[in-house]
């Protein structure tokens, strides 16, 4: 046998030995499926259901004077002391989720005016017939509830000490938009 042939055989043997040694790298695995499933998240939203949208809803003036309870156009008509004008908007709540809990709030409505105020503005849940305050809670039970938002602009009549506040005449002031907000909370 040639020397080179011996070398080839030796090399082949070595390769077999090495390959055989690969068995020590094996490991065993076994797995079983754990069934998953569909997991769905809920939702929280408030939608403007005012006829013609809240932005276009008409203002109404108080009924204490004539014309009583009439439509009031702030762009062309003027307020006098003692007047109250209101605008009513409707919203619908969509609240889905086992643990859904939310607060409702009216924010905004800032104004530079000193001659009127908006302190009477409020939210009312028509479905449950309850006013919504900062401590009220919206849950999934309130899904599809109708909420009424009322903006109240009050121009208070003078009293004995402000009998003639003529500085409030011929004033125009911007009342910025208010926002009704539902915010989800979780402990």
């Amino acid at each position: 046998m040639k020397k080179s042939t011996k070398g080839a055989i030796a090399a082949g043997g070595a390769a077999v030995l090495l390959l055989g040694g690969a068995g020590s790298l094996a490991y065993w695995t076994s797995s079983a499926n754990v069934a998953g499933g569909n997991i769905s998240s809920g939702h929280l939203s408030i939608d403007d259901t005012t006829a013609g949208t809240c932005a276009n809803a008409a203002w109404k003036i108080d009924s204490a004077e004539t014309p009583a309870g009439a439509t009031f156009d702030p762009a062309t008509q003027k307020l006098v002391p003692g007047d109250t004008i209101t605008k009513v908007c409707s919203f619908k709540v969509s609240a889905v989720g086992t643990h859904l809990r939310a607060t409702a709030a009216v924010t905004g409505g800032s104004t530079t005016a000193t001659w009127f105020n908006t302190t009477g503005s409020k939210l009312h849940d028509d479905t449950t017939n309850a006013d919504l305050t900062s401590s009220s809670v919206i849950t999934a039970a309130n899904n599809n509830d109708v909420i009424t938002g009322t903006i109240v602009v009050n121009f208070p009549y003078g009293d004995a000490t402000t009998v003639s506040t003529n500085t409030t005449q011929d004033q125009t002031a911007v009342l910025n938009a208010l926002a009704v907000t539902l915010t989800q909370v979780h402990s």
Partner: protein, 195 residues
């Protein structure tokens, strides 16, 4: 050992060690978990309730031209003041004649009414002059746009308001003989009301 063996071992060493493979898997898992941070959000839904630009109206009486001088009407004849003859009934300007009991002084004031506001409503009142003789009280009547009325609304905006002031001297006084008086401060007030 075969001289060719090192070549095979070199090929084996090109594999990543199992520990390194595990580290890579762990890193990928950590990245996935970090990507799950979106679950920290909370929900909020808001809708706008648009505001407005409310404007206030106004109320003013602007003299046009204002008030006349006081005139007085003498009732004539012998008065409670005996022994002095006064002219017969006549109207003249105060200050050039003497008044006597039961005489009437009057003045006319004309204004332009500014009354703006959907619910504007109010009435006129007379602010009594100072300096009048004791027992003499002024009264006033009003016309708005020619019609007698003591109240007004925004419908009367721009109309002329004429107030006729009357100051009747008492007929029985005896304490103001030889006195003079100056009427001042009489004015007409328009006041807005709201139920």
């Amino acid at each position: 050992m075969s001289p060719h063996a090192p070549r095979h071992r070199a090929a084996t060493r090109r594999r990543l060690p199992r520990a390194a493979v595990g580290a890579v898997v762990a890193t990928v898992a950590v990245v996935l978990l970090v990507g799950g941070n979106g679950s920290l959000a909370f929900w909020r839904s808001a809708r706008s309730m648009s505001g407005a630009s409310p404007a206030s109206g106004s109320l003013a009486l602007t003299p046009n031209p204002g008030c006349t001088s006081w005139t007085f009407t003498q009732t004539g004849g012998p008065s409670a003041w005996s022994g002095t003859a006064y002219p017969a009934t006549t109207t003249t300007t105060a200050g050039t004649r003497y008044v006597e009991p039961n005489d009437t002084l009057s003045a006319t004031c004309t204004y332009t009414l500014k009354a703006v506001g959907t619910h504007l409503r109010g009435s006129f009142t007379l602010v009594q002059p100072s300096g009048a003789p004791s027992g003499a009280t002024a009264t006033a009547t009003y016309t708005v746009g020619g019609a007698a009325q003591t109240t007004f609304t925004a419908a009367d905006n721009g109309k002329a308001v004429v107030a006729t002031l009357t100051l009747a001297l008492p007929s029985t006084t005896t304490s103001s003989q030889g006195a003079s008086f100056t009427l001042s401060g009489a004015s007409i007030s328009a006041r807005q009301v709201h139920a």
